[in-house]
Symmetry: C2
Subunit: 148 residues, 2 copies
């Protein structure tokens, strides 16, 4: 489906506009990161199906209904956010994903068209010394998996 769209926030001017929409605890690190990327879902991803599904001309019509299409955009976009985070880390860089921001303000500031919805902002760079919190505990396998 490929709904994910990236905005690479490089200029000081754009970085300032981004930081203004971030939650308090995320402002300083977003201002300081070597690169900040806005990851958004294109709610009209089906318009690209002639490129991404050339073998199935009718598939665009499967996503004619707006609510279901938005849901598919967000779910498949979130999968791509997961791939993006692991891709950045596989490339040897640190990725700091955040969802603490004013989503309406961020959408309006960077996507005035109403056709995109921001999913996450990811700070990227080489981590400094002791840049990390301790890893939080994970749920045990038995707590998250059942066999039927």
């Amino acid at each position: 489906m490929q709904p994910l769209r990236l905005v690479l926030v490089r200029s000081a001017e754009a970085r300032e506009r981004l930081v203004a929409t971030m939650a308090g605890g995320n402002k300083a690190k977003t201002a300081a990161a070597p690169l900040a990327v806005i990851l958004a879902a294109d709610l009209n991803f089906h318009e690209e199906f002639h490129k991404t599904f050339p073998h199935l001309p009718g598939v665009k019509d499967w996503f004619a209904e707006e609510t279901a299409r938005a849901q598919a955009a967000k779910f498949n976009g979130a999968l791509q956010v997961g791939y993006f985070i692991l891709g950045v880390r596989a490339a040897g860089l640190a990725a700091g994903p955040m969802t603490g921001f004013d989503a309406d303000a961020l959408n309006k500031e960077f996507f005035g068209d109403g056709e995109h919805t921001v999913l996450a902002v990811v700070n990227i760079g080489k981590p400094g010394d002791k840049a990390w919190f301790d890893r939080n505990p994970r749920l045990e396998f038995e707590q998250v998996a059942t066999t039927v």
Copy 2:
């Protein structure tokens, strides 16, 4: 947040119940896969925060509101689905993720509690010869990324 829950569908009886909820084109491969896994979001993932965020006792209250909590469960669950798919593939197995199923029926059949929502079903195994369709075209970098 760790909202993802897995149901490993191993028994013939459970596999039959799963296949009954899958869309037509997904039935045969779900019946034949060595393992089928139902990936669902726990809508009350915040109940586990005493285990997963022990350093921040008040965080459970941030997710008191049901609609926002469901949204967080689905988004973070989808990230975990992305990690799960790449994890299976990194382990040398094939992962076939599907969202073509009757979600209401599937939720009801495997999670009668109304506290979970199925995100995807993933078939897992070693692929046979010529198991794959050709890779679909990807959008170009310039089509999905802008720099500001």
